[in-house]
Amino acid sequence: MGLAAAFWIMAVVVVVAALGVVFLRNVFRAALALILCFITVAGLYITLSADFLAAVQILVYVGAISVLIILAIMMTREVQQGSPSNRMKLPAFIVAAVLLGIMIYTVTKTSWQIAAESPLSPTTAPLATKLFSESGFILPVEIAAMLILAAILGAIVIAREK
């Protein structure tokens, strides 16, 4: 009962905040709405007994990514006017609509199964074993790390003054 109420409150907040990100013309307020969205998603993780994931969600998305977004906004001039519209409006709308259609189709067509087992209580150690043990996902984790490093180096090279 309490869990269902919590879920519905957070679900509504997530959707409203996500709509705010798209529709608010003030970019700074849109970024704040994005932060609210991230925090509420962390709340949803908690209702799913994924406490480690929730903490990491807040740490990475609120603490790092949102901070960088806000930093970028602060560096931008004339933010108050909002983002100006341009010729890419129509193609962007089509791409977004197609993507939305595909996602709705997938979500409705998948037969979601509920696991019979109760969730693990301390999730940290099993997650670490799954990710870093010999039979786990150590190779994809390492490849992702290399990819991010390469992206950072690329960003530095692009941004560097000539």
């Binding site: 307020r29 704040l32 903490a55 740490l59 603490g63 790092a64 949102s66 930093l71 209580s121 940290t124």
Partner: protein, 373 residues
């Protein structure tokens, strides 16, 4: 302190959802939330007194000594004064963001105290991801500072907030790496488990980690000598320049509550938390918190404020590599000699700390960054 006293005298339980607690979970939650808010407010007044009198002593002056015996009521008088002041909002401010900023800054700091163990078992919750929760939640407080800096429509506010981004993003890494060393030795993320594992306080096992955490923690909460975002002679008052009355009081409260939170985390991670002989656990905890805070006051009185390039260089060229090496060395010690005699490990770690700090300060150089942008 009085409230904790009240709890102990009335034999109220302080564990996580005690079985004999009347009214169940929600009453427990409500009661201890109120207790924590009271604790934070009273501690803030206490440490403001310690800071002002201590600073006065260190700077060869008296400090506030007129209001009440020994000036003890000065903080109360200041609080009343600031609450009665007019609330001024700038004309061009983003009103909603300006209004919400102090709240967004204050709530995460309060939430940190939920997992701090005052006794065997925290007040509100003994999460098994305790220290990760603290690191995650404290990063939200920065958002409040941005909102204040942006919402005020003031260039000094904005500059202060931007300096804060730079400091927080840079210092979070050595901070978390220093915490990881402790987590490796204790083998748990839970704050209470970390305290229970400390038969010898971890400041002896992790001396380098302690120094890194202390420096990075002071930078993270913008205490002097790292208080660049409110450097008076450059930015007037930094991000809270356009705040007055109650909202300014909120930011003032956040500043000291953050200092207490960092002191409480240092106490829990490095100084053995609530453990100690003779005195009751919660008193040990408070005494250690106040000692750590006093050291912060001491550093504030001793060191001049750093420049922004020095701040960045210290984080990236000094603390960050040392924190990485510290983590590496700790990992090797935990893996290779898990049963080594404690005093050998302690001597080795102190030697490593001395050598590394000497070596790095020898090679520490500020970058010759170009000034034009």
């Amino acid at each position: 302190m009085a409230i904790v006293d009240f709890i102990v005298q009335n034999q109220l339980p302080m564990q996580v959802v005690p079985p004999d607690w009347p009214g169940g979970y929600w009453w427990h939650w409500l009661f201890f939330t109120v207790v924590l808010i009271g604790f934070v407010l009273i501690m803030v007044m206490g440490v403001i007194y310690v800071e002002r009198r201590g600073l006065g002593r260190m700077q060869s002056r008296l400090g506030p000594n007129r209001t009440g015996p020994f000036g003890l009521l000065q903080a109360v008088a200041d609080a009343v004064k600031v609450l009665l002041k007019e609330n001024i909002v700038p004309d061009k401010a983003d009103k909603l963001v300006h209004w919400l900023a102090p709240v967004v800054a204050f709530v995460p700091v309060l939430m940190i105290f939920a997992v701090v163990p005052f006794q065997n078992g925290a007040l509100l919750a003994d999460l098994n991801i305790g220290i990760l929760y603290v690191v995650a939640i404290s990063s939200v407080a920065t958002v409040g500072v941005f909102m204040a800096g942006w919402g005020s429509s003031n260039k000094y506010s904005l500059l202060g907030a931007m300096r804060n981004v730079a400091a927080v993003v840079s210092y979070e890494m050595p901070l978390v790496l220093a915490v990881l060393g402790v987590v490796l030795v204790a083998g748990s993320l839970s704050m209470n488990q970390i305290v229970l594992a400390q038969d010898i306080p971890y400041i002896l096992f992790q001396p380098l980690g302690f120094l890194i955490f202390f420096a990075a923690g002071c930078a993270e909460i913008n205490r002097s000598p790292f208080d660049l975002m409110e450097a008076d002679q450059e930015l007037v008052a930094g991000f809270h320049i356009e705040y007055s009355g109650m909202k300014f009081a909120m930011f003032y409260l956040v500043e000291y509550a953050e200092a207490i939170a960092i002191a409480a985390i240092i106490t829990t991670l490095f100084l053995g938390g609530w453990r100690g002989p003779i005195l009751p656990p919660w008193l040990w905890f408070i005494v250690k918190v106040i000692i750590v805070f006093f050291v912060m006051v001491w550093t504030r009185a001793t060191f001049p404020r750093v420049r922004i390039d020095q701040l960045m260089a210290l984080a990236w060229k000094f603390l960050f590599p040392l924190a990485l090496i510290n983590l590496f060395v700790t990992a090797i010690q935990v893996l290779v000699w898990p049963d080594a005699l404690p005093w050998i490990v302690i001597i080795i770690n102190f030697a490593i700390m001395g050598i590394l700090i000497l070596l790095w300060s020898k090679f520490f150089k500020l970058g010759w960054g170009r000034l034009e942008v």
